[in-house]
Symmetry: C2
């Protein structure tokens, strides 16, 4: 059994001796100094010493582009079993030491054992909704700020009528006197029941959990008491540990959707920050996200395809006993993209749309139906164009947005 967590970095430097750099990281971020220690002390300190696992150098294609991928193993004994401790150990000081990006973390079994992971995960969400072997469909409130409860209720109802499986709050809707969380939940869940009489479908409403850190758990319970059956959370604005504590709390017994707000401050630079598959995939799952949102490679707010696939892999790969998290590629999604999304993600994906639902010429309910029709068509191996001949909502959608393949 391995007793270390392994960090992988990409380090850019035109001149550095990367082997030496790796060694200085392994020593500097653990025991501090090594060669000058007396032998007796070395024996005692060895279990705390970081180890260079691998250094792979790449030659420069252009000035400033010489880099190496460096793997360092950090003994578990050096840090407590929480994400802040691990991140501060492997990338606290080091993040400020030149052009260096944290690419990946490989947790030890012991470290992992402190994390129950998602309380529901993909399987649990499928069970709640009673939907196996089909992508889920999520829609997002459109304009929310400044709208009152009646307006939100109507927006919710129209979305629910379209047969979506999940509806999420806008992440910028904070606690406010016009639509406080417990009233918002009450009216929206009423609208959900009303819509269910037409659609026959259950749905999850991920209500935005906001406010002071120490009040989040009680705020979540207030929402749950009012009928909330899911939560939305801006993880990076609060820290992974807060998500970990919320998801580990047995009284907060509903799925949590992790929003990627602020993620662009971390992942897009090739030279700095934290790679998207770790930031929005592995760490979100470890911290307990049942659903993990991230920018899709299809829309306006884009992320390169291979990073998207890296996130997907981090959320879905086998990592017992941690449950898998539902991948939710987001932004710029319209029904004409559904074949592409399902080709890239398979069935274990949440198709998530805002403008692609609300912007439908016949309204949000028709927008939801168009998405469901696109999903049905794709699962049946029928082209959207063909399916649209007998499905007017899908036809309207592809008339304005087209079909991508």
């Amino acid at each position: 059994m391995r007793h270390t967590c392994i960090a992988t970095y990409r380090c850019y430097d035109d001149k550095a001796d990367f082997q030496k750099k790796a060694l200085s990281i392994a020593v500097g971020l653990t025991v501090g100094s090594w060669t000058e220690l007396p032998e007796a002390k070395k024996a005692e300190m060895e279990k705390h010493l970081g180890q260079v696992v691998q250094v792979t150098e790449y030659s420069a294609s252009a000035p400033g582009e010489r880099y190496a991928d460096i793997q360092i193993a950090y003994p578990d004994i050096n840090f407590s079993r929480d994400i802040p401790a691990l991140l501060v150990t492997v990338f606290g000081k080091l993040s400020m030491d030149g052009k260096i990006k944290l690419l990946d973390l490989d947790f030890s079994e012991n470290f992992l054992s402190a994390f129950p992971g998602p309380q529901f995960g993909m399987k649990g969400i499928r069970e709640i909704l009673g939907i196996q072997e089909r992508p889920l469909l999520m829609s997002i409130f459109k304009s929310v700020i400044g709208h009152d409860l009646d307006a939100l209720r109507e927006q919710f109802y129209q979305q629910a009528l379209g047969g979506v499986d999940l509806i999420k709050d806008d992440e910028i809707l904070f606690e406010n006197p016009l639509t406080p969380i417990e009233k918002r939940v009450t009216v929206c869940m009423e609208a959900a029941s009303q819509a269910e009489q037409h659609t026959g479908k259950k749905l999850l409403y991920a209500v935005n959990l906001t406010g002071p850190t120490s009040k989040l758990a009680s705020q979540a319970r207030k929402a749950i008491d009012a009928g909330a059956n899911a939560l939305l959370f801006n993880v990076l604005a609060y820290g992974y540990d807060v998500l970990h504590e919320l998801s580990s709390d047995p009284t907060i017994n509903v799925p949590i959707a992790a929003h990627p707000a602020m993620a662009g401050a971390f992942y897009p630079s090739p030279h700095y920050g934290i790679a998207a598959p770790l930031l929005l995939g592995k760490l979100m799952r470890l911290a307990g996200a049942d659903l993990a949102l991230f920018p899709s490679p299809y829309g306006s707010v884009v992320m390169p395809k291979e990073e998207n696939m890296g996130i997907k892999d981090a959320l879905l790969r086998d990592l017992p006993p941690i449950r898998t998290s539902f991948p939710v590629p987001s932004a710029g999604i319209h029904p004409g993209l559904v074949p592409l999304i399902l080709r890239d993600f398979g069935q274990d994906v949440v198709v998530n749309a805002g403008g692609g639902v609300h912007g439908h010429p016949q309204g949000a309910a028709a927008g939801g139906r168009a998405f469901n029709q696109a999903i049905d068509a794709t699962l049946q191996g029928v082209s959207l164009q063909d399916y649209a001949t007998t499905h007017p909502e899908l036809k309207s959608a592809i008339d304005i947005w087209g079909v991508k393949s």
Copy 2:
């Protein structure tokens, strides 16, 4: 009185119409849509609508280098009075929308009123220590991981004997069975008293506050009960709001030093992230950091000088009723740099050293003395070289590290 918080962004795009981009931010991150609203609705929504304050375009010096600085005013009414809400509003989704960096935030009076700021601040720390009009001297534990209480006590004692004003834990020392926080505090504060008999100087020991988020406050009280008179906190690994809650807690009545661990994931890229003066200056102060550490422009882990001066300004500028925070430029500091530090920062600075104290040829106590001699010399307008002729500790230090000017 202004009822908006203003965000300034730097946005890179070779082709964009920056005016249009600014307008789309102002609308998109507030009311969502505007031009298509009926007039009656516009009247009702106007108080929620973001406004473009300014767009300053810069022509490209090279491909990919065309940019604009964009200022958007966000109505206070849209978000709650906490840092996560403000950050998610102004840079949640937007952070993922192309090459864009958050440069600055200008808080409204109303927003600011929710933040008591540093409980002690620079003035309070000077009062505790009884030192006015002189830079303070801080030293950092060297190797800590794997060392037992006796070893830490001895390391602490030697540092204290050098006459330093503050000693801080290494930020990677987490709660551990060998040196648990309350025992570490007990033995180190004993060593502080013992050293005080020789130096006649009080000192603050900033002990590292770590562990699960919800237990930090009780962990802090445990440390304080054991005699801790300051705390060190890895703010960015936990979120600004956690610092805000700790610093607002009247039972946590000791100064808090904010460590910049992880900051390099945010500030160094010109195209992405959050600028250092905001990240490590303004937001740390708002959240209540009594001392704010950041990479100095002098040493191995460097930050450009103008960013350092931006941080200094953010920590020290007039912003009533928020107290000022002590600037602590860190990393690579040796006594020969003291004249430079005091020239750049004036007297309101903490000279902070690790290797420059412990690496002194006559040991850590001599290292502290060398720093104090360098400070005395500089305040008296005497060159370090001259002062060193009658001060052997300073002489040894500048013999190995030299003097920078």
